[in-house]
Amino acid sequence: MAKTVLYTGSAATFRTVGAAATTQNLFTIENTAGSAVLVGVRSLVMQLDATAVLTAVMPLVKTTRIAIPTGGTTLAKVALDTSQSSVANVIVRGATASDGGGATAITATPGGIIWQQYGMRVHTAVGQIASPDYPLLPSLVSGSPLVLRPSEALLVQVVAAAGTSNPATNHWFVQCVWEEFTVT
């Protein structure tokens, strides 16, 4: 079988403030029904700047495969090569329409956990605060992409022990690189 990559692109959410709830859907990428392509997710990362102290357990960020979501803010898809075009069936959603803006909630029900990641927390506000990439899929997907078939999607969800563990002083964003391909 031959794999033909038709498009490789990326998308990034806006800076999304914590929802002060025990769960918060941050990001989805979906391949809707009837799509002529398969989606291979090659990179999915999160960054967080927490500007308030948290002495309890930090939120977990979980990636699960789900059915097609609703709601949210549709994000722009950016091609790595502008001679390629993404299919309309591939949709990327975030949870706000501007950096630090009001919430546009993604409605989605998480499935089985594919991968999860602790973010960071500030135990005391002393010294340097770094915000490296936190991978939301195992690094091996760069070579062996996670595949979304038609009617499948990926959900990135924050899960906090309490709403106070994900306050509005948490500033999240998620970004993704994927390819759209066919197999013949």
């Binding site: 990034a12 790595l80 090569d81 500030v122 340097q128 605060i129 770094a130 915000s131």
Partner: protein, 269 residues
């Protein structure tokens, strides 16, 4: 297609501008370029020096833009040196790297460009307090999936690095930034076009051939691609990029008489 150049460029240490947005660096592949630019690495480092910040840190965005500042006569930062990995290679004159200052910590010279859609982004660092070791590691501005999925810049495109802050106070002059990049330049896929120039059915030797290419038949992004001259048989040929519209025009002088032969427009290549 073949790679004709691999090189790097780095900005000088650039102070924060105290505003909510600041263009730090731009890599342009201008319309006149005869190469495709593939960005292989793009990083930013920042030292906040003495500035502490209790609110959300600035975010560094990259975006591909098509309104290139150096294609117009406006302020567009400071041109940076392009350094080849192999000095036997030469960068295309249409590829330009620009920063926002001419010297480390020097006065700012703004890159006047409007960001496009964010392709990738990265938080910088901040100091909750000035304590202990402060590290400034590479902030990767493209996904580390740079092979084979490098960001491509066709002629007329550029990659812009922009710092975005919730307030000007979050990007003070005590922030000291720099950006650097590695890119390669490769040739287009080309095909040969050719023809013959005659005058009264006789071949014209030494006629000048001008080849103009454009993105489409409406002459979008038109520019002169190359010139050549006919041989003793009046024949000429040229390599032109695949996927562009080529138009060919000829002129020659016969003694004191100047001739312009019928051109061949809208050649789909």
């Amino acid at each position: 297609m073949s790679v004709t150049f691999i090189g790097s460029a780095a900005t000088f240490g650039t102070m924060g501008n105290g505003q909510t947005t600041q263009n730090l660096f731009i890599l342009e592949n201008k319309l006149c370029s005869r190469r495709i630019v593939n960005i292989r690495s793009l990083v930013v480092q920042m030292d906040p020096t003495t500035g502490t910040l209790a609110t959300v840190k600035p975010i560094i965005n990259i975006s591909r833009i098509t309104a290139l500042p150096n294609d117009t006569i406006t302020t567009a930062g400071e041109t940076l040196s392009k350094v080849p990995f192999d000095t036997a290679q030469v960068s295309d004159f249409g590829v330009m790297a620009s920063g926002a200052t001419l010297a480390d910590g020097g006065p700012l010279r703004a890159i006047v460009a409007s960001p496009g859609v964010t392709s990738w982004r990265q938080y910088s660092i901040r100091l909750a307090s000035g304590f202990g070791q402060v590290k400034s590691e590479d902030n990767l501005l493209i996904s580390n999936l740079i092979e084979p999925a490098a960001y491509h810049l066709y002629p007329g495109q550029a990659m812009l690095i922009t710092v975005v802050s919730v307030s000007g106070a979050n990007n003070p002059s005590t922030n000291r930034w720099f950006a650097q990049t590695v890119w390669e330049e490769e040739t287009f896929n080309t095909r040969v076009i050719s023809g013959t120039v005659t005058n009264n059915s006789l071949p014209v030797n030494g006629a000048q051939i001008v080849i103009v290419i454009a993105d489409d038949i409406f002459m979008t992004n038109s520019r002169i691609w190359s010139t050549t001259t006919t041989n003793a048989l009046g024949a000429w040929s040229a390599n032109v990029p695949v996927g562009r519209v080529a138009s060919v025009y000829s002129q020659h002088r016969d003694g004191q008489t100047l001739h312009s032969a019928v051109g061949n427009p809208y050649l789909m290549t």
